[in-house]
Symmetry: C2
């Protein structure tokens, strides 16, 4: 749940004067997304999303994100397309924050994941990776293996408040991942946060991918591992191998995976689990006074981490 | 900011099967309203608002609210019109809560009130009162003078935590209001909560009135007094007599006010100020652990109460 900034009708009118979108018919804050303020904007020309970038998105990264969405849209990926103002600029200022208008995407994100959703996201991820191959910009992944030790150290002293023994377990895992992390697999633009609330469906078809504000340049197979964690575990913590098989099968039907990528999947899945565990743990231990967003449970990702640590190989994913 | 209940795509599909609204295209929680969960719903047939009634709305009152909106819409008041399902029922169940779909209204509510807004709301309130005259149902106002003592007693012991001397000042005011409250003025359906966030404008015209969930049967002039408090004070606490004159003038152009109603305005304005002061004070003193909604400042209404207490008569409103 978000909307951190309230946009007044006066400020909005002044902002919209730079665009060719006609009169504003309505503008309502959306209770989704936790990083930015999002508004559903209806004008005489159609329906759009207005985003104000709040402090967790670095302004220096915004040109990368905007250019990526423009590139993906040109390549036929169903994603929000930035709308340029009359002066050609898509990235502007509103209420003292960077702001952009993007096209509205039909569809709803799935609350209860069914197997067909996993096939849908697998195919969509592969098409996204393929489309990204011709994108010219790069952005390092601050939240990959090189960034985890800093996060871990920031949580280490208090990790056991959440679960006794957690600091030791995470420290050992981090060491293993740092030692074994590969360096020579296919790289490209990854979404890096393709959770169910970022994938819209109409019926059984993917109708949109959203929220590219963690996108960066990294191993493509690591992006798959993020999706295995986000889409293939049941609410009770059980790994659903049918969903994993569908996700991976749909991905490979679009973009084949090499043997080295397949072999790396369990390690990437452990790494991805540690990444979300650490950021959730940090947020859990550092809840701001009066916060309007409840932090997510970090221990959900400890269970996922242990699952991937204990399997024999990528065959456990139904391959 | 609201949305207390998350509606899954599966639950929504099952719910929508009772309606003739076509396929759901999207459904997004709106970060407005603090009493209910509201979703902006797009279907093949248009744009609607889906409301789930949360615990602060008594289910027994819902037929009154739904019938009122239907009545007002028939009378030409721009307000949400309940959409009936194929079986003729507008009030249904979703996620274990009462739920209804209403039509979407264009417009934005004004964040910075300008004089023309006050003229707009005055006229709209009078048309609402006139349209309500032919509405057959009644609902007592639990939050009028008879309900304030209970609220006051629930806050009395801790009121001075908010401001020293507050309990004594409110107790004396309450006694005066109880003693002097009139009994023989024109009554009818009042909105009872016509704050700026419940009035939409397109340009300088009112395009919609929303949120009828405090509507009840009471003195019509009391509803005007609520609007004087909600629309005619500046952010610095100053009373803007130009705004009051415009609000009252536009009201009287549609529905003339009798001398007794005019004379009662300052008392009603004091009462209305006490009503919002008390409910805000109660919410301030009883914030639930981990609440997602920040309570409003009760003392804003103490300043308003004192203004109306200290004026010589309704002439202070620019009459």
């Amino acid at each position: 749940m978000a909307v951190y900034t309230d946009v007044s009708d006066d400020e909005l009118r002044a902002f919209m004067a730079a665009y060719d979108l006609g009169e504003v018919i309505s503008c309502k804050g959306i209770a989704e997304g936790v990083e930015n303020s999002n508004f559903l904007l209806r004008t005489e020309r159609g329906t759009f999303i207005l985003t104000l970038y709040e402090k967790r998105v670095a302004p220096a990264d915004l040109p990368f994100f905007i250019a990526l969405m423009e590139h993906l849209a040109r390549e036929g990926i169903p994603c929000p397309t930035p709308v340029r103002a009359r002066d050609g600029e898509a990235l502007r200022q509103l209420c003292g924050r960077p702001a952009a208008i993007v096209t509205f995407l039909d569809g709803m994100w799935p609350r209860r994941i069914q197997p067909f959703h996993c096939a849908g996201v697998g195919g969509a991820l592969a098409r996204f990776h393929a489309a990204g191959a011709s994108f010219g910009m790069t952005r390092p992944n601050d939240l990959s293996v090189a960034g985890w030790r800093r996060l871990f150290e920031a949580c280490r002293a208090r990790a056991d408040e959440v679960k006794p023994g957690l600091a030791e377990e995470l420290g050992a895992e981090l060491e293993r991942l740092e030692r074994n992390w590969p360096s020579d697999l296919p790289r490209g633009v990854i979404h890096a946060d393709l959770f169910p609330d970022n994938v819209f469906f109409r019926g059984e078809q993917v109708s949109g991918l959203i929220d590219f504000y963690f996108a960066c340049t990294d191993f493509l197979a690591y992006d798959i591992a993020i999706c295995l964690n986000a889409w293939c575990f049941e609410p009770d913590g059980a790994f659903n191998v049918t969903k994993a098989r569908l996700l991976l099968g749909a991905y490979r039907a679009v973009r084949p995976l090499g043997a080295a990528e397949l072999d790396a999947l369990p390690l990437f899945a452990r790494g991805s689990a540690l990444r979300f565990l650490l950021t959730r743990l940090y947020d859990w231990l550092n809840q701001p006074e009066g916060a309007l967003v409840r932090p997510k449970d970090p221990l959900e990702y400890l269970k996922k981490l242990r699952f991937h640590r204990d399997i024999a190989g990528p065959g456990a994913y139904g391959l």
